[in-house]
Symmetry: C2
Subunit: 326 residues, 2 copies
């Protein structure tokens, strides 16, 4: 009997609560506990367990690897928040705000080590392969974050460059999570690779959905203010295409809004830029691209050589991630 | 034929030069190249190769592990320099000065991953054991750094607390380097543990030597200004004991100097505090403690079950580290 996504995330929450951060010095370990207890969707560790569940009934042999991936993901959020000077994450103060920059740097460092300690508990038959994939993925995520920072200060970012950035920053960890689970479960190389590709394409679609939600989401369910990306001129897939397509007066108006500083005319800026997006049809361009990746993802999953019944839960999750409102 | 320390460090330098950091994005990988090309004594990777050389003629099977340890060591320097707001390292601007804080954080993160990628190339027969020891050591080093930061803001630090801090921050990586080399070479558990303990005790003696050199070193050979620790009120083994032993007027004078801000009366502060150290005899206390650890280290090495001839080079290195002037 296959486990549902909800059963799996429930199990992951219990396991995360049982990780022991009650160590000295407290200043080092308390922030880790704080970050991990904030919650989150736990999608990455769920993907690891679900992929392993395609090949084995008992997913417990994959739990430490799954937890390592989740701890690593939360480490990247911790360090990214320092770099982005973000004050709030999931409705609570970020670590560098609640403590300070030095604590956030050092707790992050030890969190990355803790992730590796969990990864090291991967079953011996695939430890080396999982370890190498994890390290490669971890480095790629840093590369993605660096491109993200670099793009902030670029006048023009091409759509392909943006897609490569989000592949590195977001998609590879989903691919890695799935492939690790598959390898632990005993999948062959071809299945493991198809699940990796499924993760990449779902990840790309997931990030484009994020770009869309920031502009077209429902504030009540989205959990953060609509238009955050617009206010800080974030070069999302929408803005990149708007800058490419706009001409004449529309181009001038868009540029005018981009030159207005962050705290001025917020409401007007969000509504005006959204209007420009609508005029230029970039919402559709983004939705089409998202669907293209989603379709590729489904094709990757189709190629995995296990029964459709077993794959149904991953298929459901893909649908859920595309239709989410938060 | 045993390799000498100089042959081994020469070999390590060549191997470090061959590591490929010519990857994109450049902003991420350039600082790693910069940090590793600054040089350094390469003591930690040398210990790995020398320990492996006790059990095998060809040390090449230990090279990646040795390099991983050196890359990790340099990563800690990179992140420590951000936290300490240090502008100069080995006579050159630190990464966060030459680039910026964000680059230093993110390059450090990817450097830690690169260290793990090298550690993952440890021969399969002891990969898991080396990986676990490395992670435990890495976490301990972060703990040591955190205690170091905490102690900066404590009025009183006990001598034992200080020794525990330097054990974590400095000594465990020497122990780890030696034990990894021993395990790769095929040493038994007892030898591996004795070499680990040799590293711990040499590491503690090494750090006490550092405290002494900062006050009693020869500026020309020490490579940095004498009295740096005194000027920033660093709670070294010398100051901790001086604060404990001073009474009456001497105590008042010492406290007066500790209250003087960093940039005032520099020369007077260094000479006056040094005078107080001399009056109180804390130099001897520190030298005695250093010799105590050195003696323990030699006893640990004596217990290692290989011929004295083979151990001679490690013995020479221990002497060299104790009598060094830089």
């Amino acid at each position: 009997m296959m486990k549902t996504f909800d059963e799996i995330t429930q199990h992951i929450s219990t396991e995360i609560d049982q990780l022991n951060w009650n160590k000295e010095p407290r200043e080092l370990y308390e922030p880790i506990d704080y970050v991990l207890s904030m919650g989150g969707k736990r999608i990455r560790p769920a993907l690891t367990l679900m992929a392993s569940n395609l090949y084995q009934d008992d997913v417990q042999s994959a739990i430490n690897t799954a937890l390592g991936i989740e701890v690593f993901h939360n480490f990247t959020l911790l360090h990214d928040d320092i770099m982005d000077r973000a004050d709030v994450r999931r409705g609570r103060p970020t670590v560098h705000k609640k403590w300070n920059d030095n604590t956030a740097i050092l707790s992050g460092d030890v969190m990355q080590i803790a992730a590796y300690q969990l990864i090291a508990k991967t079953p011996a038959h695939c430890l080396k392969q999982v370890l190498d994939l994890f390290s490669q993925t971890a480095a790629e995520i840093c590369e993605g974050q660096q491109y993200d920072v670099v793009f902030e200060n670029c006048d023009i970012v091409k759509a392909d460059e943006y897609l490569e950035m989000i592949r590195l920053k977001t998609a590879v960890l989903l691919g890695c999570a799935l492939k690790c689970g598959a390898l632990i479960g005993g999948a062959g190389e071809e299945d493991a690779q198809n699940l990796y590709d499924f993760g990449i394409n779902i990840g790309l679609a997931f990030q484009l959905k994020d770009d869309l939600l920031d502009v077209y989401g429902d504030e009540a369910t989205f959990g953060k203010k609509i238009g955050g990306d617009i206010l800080c001129n974030k070069k999302t897939y929408l803005l990149i295409h708007a800058l490419k397509l706009a001409i004449g007066d529309t181009k001038e108006e868009l540029k005018k809004w981009l030159n207005i500083s962050k705290d001025e005319f917020s409401e007007e800026k969000v509504s005006s830029v959204t209007n420009i997006y609508n005029q230029l049809g970039v919402r559709t361009i983004c939705e089409d691209k998202m669907l293209e990746f989603y379709t590729k993802a489904v094709a990757n999953l189709d190629k995995v050589r296990v029964s459709d019944t077993k794959k149904q839960e991953l298929r459901n999750l893909a649908v859920k991630l595309m239709s989410r409102n938060d």
